[in-house]
């Protein structure tokens, strides 16, 4: 069996930065792309806060540039995700589909997946009115009424993007404060097509063949209301994709991988974590890039020490 020097699980900003640094260090990294090549950023219509791109660009475009840069240094890419991991002395066996790959070190950069609302009706109407991707599905909502759930930058971007299609957009958020940058909230507030429901949560989603409406509850007053709508775009944050690793590295109660302070070193020797899998606070592409760089350098140091 061939033994990899470093396998990088994930192909978002953290994973691809780790790959670029590891490749330039001569570690010949293998990147496992995961279910969504390019990571969560690929569903963002506009990225305006990533330095170096003053005119903004789409998340897909940004990630294709990351990949192009990684390819320039002969990073190898493989489709799929790690389904099982086990330790064999100082190395790790990774089961990827029906194959097993052995590696001396592993960088976990699997990112996070979009949170679901977990309310009745959500599963039934996903793809029939509920979506997590405005760039993919926004055009289906021409002249329709839609609700954007969330209070972060993504929710604001989604609402503004949907003004191209929908006749009415309601931003529904569970808090009166927004996590989004003030700049983004102000932009959304300037739009006459956007209405606001705060602090409300959706408690039920109803419809027949397609979504027809929601029931919502006011967090402060307990008031219940029903609202007709044709679509719901969910942007309520993410949860780390760490389930498969939880038996081998320590995670916190929310599933984030615990790393040593100011490093990407996990509780398992030779395994490093970077990006949203270990960042419950910032969760930004720019932060993930820094983490990815750190992980590659930490892995390089570990491998040198082990030799």
């Amino acid at each position: 069996m061939d033994i990899e020097t470093v396998v990088i699980a994930g192909s978002g900003p953290a994973g691809l930065t780790a790959a670029i640094y590891a490749a330039r260090a001569g570690l010949k990294p293998l990147v496992l792309e995961g279910l969504t090549p390019g990571g969560q950023l690929t569903v963002s219509e506009t990225v305006e806060n990533y330095p170096g791109f003053p005119d903004s660009l789409s998340g897909s475009e940004l990630m294709s540039r990351f990949r192009k840069q990684a390819e320039r240094f002969d990073v190898r890419f493989q489709r799929g995700s790690i389904q099982e991991i086990s330790r064999i002395e100082n190395q790790y066996n990774l089961r990827i589909k029906n194959n097993t790959t052995r590696t001396k070190s592993l960088i976990i950069a699997t990112g996070a997946q979009a949170r679901r609302l977990n309310v009745p009706g959500e599963k039934v109407f996903y793809g029939r009115g509920i979506s997590g991707c405005v760039t993919c599905d926004g055009a289906f909502f021409k002249d329709k009424k839609v609700i954007v759930v969330g209070g972060g930058n993504t929710a604001m971007h989604n609402a503004l993007y949907l003004t191209r299609f929908a006749k009415k957009i309601t931003i529904l958020h569970r808090r009166t404060r927004f996590k989004a940058d003030i700049y983004e909230v102000e932009k959304a507030k300037k739009s006459t097509e956007i209405e606001w429901m705060v602090p409300w949560v959706i408690t039920d989603i109803t419809g027949d063949e397609t979504l027809k409406g929601i029931t919502a509850r006011n967090i402060e007053t307990g008031e219940i209301c029903t609202l007709e709508c044709d679509g719901i775009f969910v942007a309520i944050g993410h949860q780390p994709k760490t389930e498969v690793f939880s038996s081998i590295v320590k995670t916190n109660q929310d599933g984030y991988i615990i790393v040593a302070p100011n490093s990407t070193v996990t509780t398992a020797p030779g395994i490093f974590a970077c990006g949203d899998v270990c960042d419950p606070v910032y969760r930004q592409a720019a932060v993930a890039v820094g983490h990815g760089c750190m992980a590659a350098m930490d892995a390089q140091e570990y491998l040198t020490r082990e030799e």
Partner: protein, 117 residues
């Protein structure tokens, strides 16, 4: 044309011919977007495990994609990709938006069995 290793259906006639000449067909109609690409990749991976099924894609933004879009089974769909499973020329199952490998294999195992003959 979609950048996949699946069979590409570029015309309505090609799609009609495929579903009528093959007992089991799965067609994913989408774009090269984040909700569609994972489904194509899962289909590519499943191809060798399901030799009795023809896996194909069709570009959503073409006139001939009406073959999929206008199916009654897709009437309520509002999420890419539109995926349709055909048995002996008849659409027997369909899904809208991204699906996991588990969801797809469950459907394949379910619909391409004797009970739909």
């Amino acid at each position: 044309m979609l950048l996949t290793n699946l069979k590409h259906l570029e015309t309505k006639n090609a799609a009609e011919s495929l579903v009528h000449c093959n007992e089991n067909v799965m067609i994913c109609c989408g774009r090269m977007g984040p909700m569609c690409v994972p489904v194509y990749e899962i289909m590519e991976e499943l191809q060798p495990r399901y030799p009795h099924v023809v896996f194909a894609d069709m570009e959503f933004d073409t006139k001939d994609a009406a073959f999929i879009k206008n199916l009654p089974e897709c009437r309520s769909f509002m999420g890419l990709p539109f995926t349709v499973y055909f048995k002996n020329g008849k659409a027997v199952h369909s899904t809208s938006s991204i699906q996991t490998e588990d969801q797809i294999t469950t459907i394949l195992n379910n619909v391409f069995t004797e009970k739909y003959k």
